[in-house]
């Protein structure tokens, strides 16, 4: 059994990172030039890492399946980025951001990692401002902050509703600088389809060039994955269409551990699904819940229009159940409550899967102008998508998959159990435990890429001077053959159904049985249905076109094939975690009042899965979580 050594440095919490940096081995500038680093992904995590490593003198090759590094899904983040700057002097501190993140994660993350994240957050803002990120400012010229996701302090920095875009363009600027200077090779339209492992170490990748179909080998002294999250395993999510799990999934099949796959986050305020053709779900900012009241009709199957339903026949269920927090109840609680009323047949809209978010009272109280000032752009976006005017009729919203806390297992160095493989950003499992706080994913991606990996990489590389990998090794040959075999197999089925069809069906199974609520029975159901769907996929799919050309259907089919496997692991992990925590709610484990019941005695641990081949079940490894500096408490929002 692989021992899970998290490599947390000794010493007091506040000193761990500092001590680590003091003693970490350094690689001299002349030696840096000798090391080849492959970075997969150019989102916040990948672009920041690649640019920083190239600037330090490493030989860097960065790959992205997109047509430009600037397209990475990070571009779509809206709300903002947290940092413990305490510019507002409202009592924030590194400790408070650390504690909020740990508590928000329902005490399922490592103290040392989270503390380091909070510490490093200070430098991120400095770095971004220096790059020219136009953060919002006060009239006096100071940086503006807002309170986000129910935080008691204002620590969120933002650039209008386009924070992710501006941060990514900052990192893309640095990346472009290095490319232009000839210090970094950027490979766009290049998809990693396998990891090459030599003597147990990650030493290269197999890339399919998407325009030509060429399958290429790249050797490296270390491989960095920054390939984003896997929400799209549910088919519909707020993620971009192209977001996928292929890089991390295929690395898992080469021996990297997959940690906590069942930790997924569902966002309560998205525009509901309108039909089967729907391709993605659009997030509506959570801030709308500050002034909107959420309700459904009291009566089942009530077909009346909202304004025809009198007050006494409406159920403002969040206000009723959580009088203290009301419509501002946390994301998971708001989402689950919406599901509950829809399951009772009281949902609204054509599909019956929606609840009203009503601004009528706020408009009466504050006037339309105030509401327009606060949310004008959101109302416009809503109208553009749905054709409905939310000043006149209540909005309809429904929860949607938004973020995945799970990912490849990494230690304090951000290295996986496979030496030489580093995993950054949403692709790793590291800092958010069972639930992520708003505005902290951007923070983590940039922390990992700008400030953590550049310090930790040396510890591994200093042991690798003698081991130059060559692409002529049989391991490269074998991995390349394996990729070719998979793509050929996809093309040879020639059934009659599109990859889309199977992806949608998988999404239905997961959403139904492993979504906002999960139970032993529903998870068993998922575990029996997914393999059947997978079998059908390999018999009935039709992938048109050929292997040696630009073939979007082929790219997509490969990603769906991986989702069909990952979905099963997700359900297995959820079944194994017999407790409710953060985004993972098991109906068997709730308190009498319906709130999540955590089980620290048995499950205060990371669940990491190890692949054992197609015919066997994966094995489970556990990393215990020890709380030395804080006492895990229970959440209470009543």
């Amino acid at each position: 059994m692989t021992a899970l050594n998290s490599k947390i440095p000794p010493g007091p919490l506040e000193k761990k990172w500092e001590n680590f940096k003091k003693t970490a081995p350094l690689i001299s500038p002349t030696n840096k030039r000798k090391f080849n680093i492959v970075v997969i992904g150019s989102g916040l995590a990948g672009a920041s890492a690649a640019a920083t490593l190239a600037q330090e003198g490493y030989q860097v090759d960065c790959f992205s399946f997109h047509d430009s590094p600037r397209r990475a899904h990070s571009i779509a983040a809206q709300g903002g980025i947290n940092a413990a700057k305490n510019y507002q002097n409202d009592g924030d501190s590194v400790w408070r951001l650390f504690y909020d993140t740990l508590k928000g994660g329902d005490f399922r993350s490592r103290e040392a990692n989270v503390y380091r994240l909070a510490e490093v957050s200070l430098h991120i803002i400095d770095q971004c401002v220096a790059q020219g990120v136009p953060f919002a400012r006060e009239y006096g010229g100071q940086l503006a902050n807002r309170s986000f996701g129910g935080a008691q302090v204002s620590r969120t920095f933002y650039a209008r509703g386009q924070t992710g875009q501006q941060l990514l363009l900052g990192a893309y600027g640095s990346l472009s600088h290095q490319i232009g200077a000839g210090r970094l090779r950027m490979h766009t339209h290049s998809e990693m389809l396998d990891l090459v492992v030599i003597n147990g170490h990650a030493k290269g990748v197999i890339i399919r060039h998407l325009l030509t179909g060429a399958i290429l080998r790249y050797a490296a002294d270390a491989v960095v994955l920054a390939t984003g999250g896997y929400s799209n395993v549910y088919y519909l999510s707020t993620n971009a269409r192209g977001s996928n799990a292929t890089a991390i999934w295929r690395s898992y099949k080469r021996g990297a551990l997959f940690a906590n796959p069942c930790y997924t986050q569902i966002h309560p305020t998205c525009i509901p699904v309108a039909g089967d053709y729907q391709s993605k779900l659009t997030l509506m900012s959570e801030s709308l819940r500050n002034d909107g009241r959420i309700w459904v009709p009291k009566k089942k199957g009530d077909q009346r229009l909202p304004h025809q339903i009198p007050q006494q026949e409406r159920d403002y269920y969040l206000e009723r159940k959580y009088p203290a927090y009301g419509n501002l109840a946390p994301r998971d609680i708001a989402s689950r409550s919406a599901k509950e009323v829809c399951d009772q047949g009281r949902g609204v809209g054509p599909s019956g899967l929606g609840v009203y978010l009503d601004f009528e009272d706020s408009i009466t109280r504050l006037g339309k102008k105030v509401i327009e000032e606060r949310y004008g752009n959101l109302f416009e976006m809503y109208e553009n998508i749905t054709g409905e005017n939310a000043y006149e009729h209540p909005m309809r919203i429904f929860p949607a998959l938004h973020y995945t806390m799970g990912g490849l297992w990494v230690d304090y160095h951000l290295m996986s159990n496979l030496p030489g493989l580093y995993v950054l950003g949403e692709a790793n499992f590291s800092d958010h435990g069972a639930n992520r706080l708003g505005a902290s994913a951007l923070m983590q991606g940039l922390a990992d890429g700008y400030f953590i990996l550049p310090y930790t990489l040396g510890s591994y590389l200093c042991t690798q001077f003698e081991t130059k990998p060559s692409i002529d090794l049989p391991e490269f040959e074998q991995a390349q053959e394996a990729v070719l075999a998979t793509t050929s197999r996809l093309l040879e089925v020639r059934g009659s159904l599109s990859a889309h069809y199977f992806h949608r069906e998988l999404g239905k199974i997961l959403w139904e049985h492993c979504g906002m609520t999960r139970s032993e029975k529903s998870l068993q159901e998922a575990l029996s249905e997914i393999p059947k769907l997978r079998e059908r996929f390999w018999k009935e799919i039709n992938v048109p076109g050929s292997n040696d050309s630009f073939n979007k259907s082929l790219e997509y089919a490969g990603r769906v094939a991986d989702f069909l496997e990952l979905g099963e692991l997700l359900a297995r992990d959820a079944l194994h975690r017999r407790e409710s925590c953060g985004g993972h709610f098991r109906t068997e484990y709730q308190r009498p009042d319906g709130e999540a019941l955590r089980n620290d005695e048995l499950f205060s641990c990371v669940q990491a899965w190890q692949y054992q081949g197609e015919a066997s079940e994966p094995t489970l490894l556990q990393e215990p979580l020890c709380y030395e500096f804080v006492q895990p408490g229970m959440r209470n929002y009543k």
Partner: protein, 265 residues
């Protein structure tokens, strides 16, 4: 946009979904070397609430079921921010209305009409397949100097330099560009000046952008000419279609910055 209960799904029950039909005239081209042509396709029974790209998804699924080759088109975020989608709908780059092609909805077309869909026609953006073009020229313009050369880890505390709200807002207006390439596609001269002007304006407004201000504008303009983009002759077609509302005033800024740099360098 005007909405009424009739055109929305608010009052609809499950049974009564509105379906629309169209004829598509769509550009098909195997690769950069092969000749292209317009193909006529039926788009029958498209849900009125579907987006334009979802309509193309539906058509593609049907083509796959009929064992035909689907239409290649780019998209990713599908909410108007990533700049990946790129096509010309009825002669308009990124389609009718403000926003990107992914934000166009089928209910805005008259039922039964013929819709023409083709790729951007810009020499510097070669066609790769069907509606997909190669926009890497825009990346190279940024690589030429569209950044601030900041070294990771060396930055001073962000609070040390104050920036007025007005300046920050103006920089943000220009920084909002999504890099979609529609400006060059709309321009009769295939000029990239809205794109370059947006970046130069964003960075030259900010104190952090000052040290490289002159070199930046020089190298970006030089690269723009090198890539084969044309010059601006004040049509303002770019401003009219830009999904990120970039104002043509950034082109004036670009010209001014260029002249200033020519004097000082």
């Amino acid at each position: 946009m005007k909405s009424s209960l009739n055109s929305s799904s608010l009052g609809q029950t499950r049974a009564e979904r509105k379906l629309l039909s169209f004829t598509l005239r769509i550009w098909r081209q195997e690769n950069s070397h092969s000749p292209g042509f317009f193909e006529q396709l039926d788009a029958k029974d498209i849900p009125a609430e579907a987006s334009f790209l979802e309509m193309l998804d539906i058509i593609n699924d049907r083509l796959i079921e009929e064992k035909k080759i689907p239409i290649a088109f780019d998209s990713d975020c599908r909410e108007g921010i990533c700049g990946t989608c790129s096509m010309v709908i009825n002669g308009i780059p990124q389609g009718p209305g403000r926003g990107a092609a992914c934000q166009v909805y089928m209910r805005s077309f008259s039922p039964g009409s013929t819709i023409t869909i083709e790729p951007y026609r810009v020499k510097a953006f070669p066609i790769l397949k069907d509606l997909v073009v190669d926009r890497s020229a825009y990346d190279r313009l940024i690589q030429a100097g569209g950044f601030i050369s900041e070294h990771t880890g060396g930055a001073a505390d962000a609070a040390t330099i104050l920036i007025s709200k007005k300046t920050a807002d103006a920089a943000m207006d220009a920084a909002a560009c999504i890099g979609c390439g529609a400006c060059a596609a709309a321009c009769p001269n295939s000029s990239a000046m809205l794109f370059v002007g947006a970046k130069v304006t964003h960075l030259s407004l900010l104190p952090q952008g000052q040290p490289e201000r002159s070199e930046r504008v020089f190298s970006m303009v030089h690269a723009m000419d090198g890539e084969g983009f044309g010059n601006c002759s004040n049509y303002y077609a770019c401003e009219a279609i830009c999904p990120a509302n970039i104002s043509a005033s950034v082109i004036a800024t670009l010209n001014r910055e260029f002249i200033k740099a020519s004097i000082t360098l």
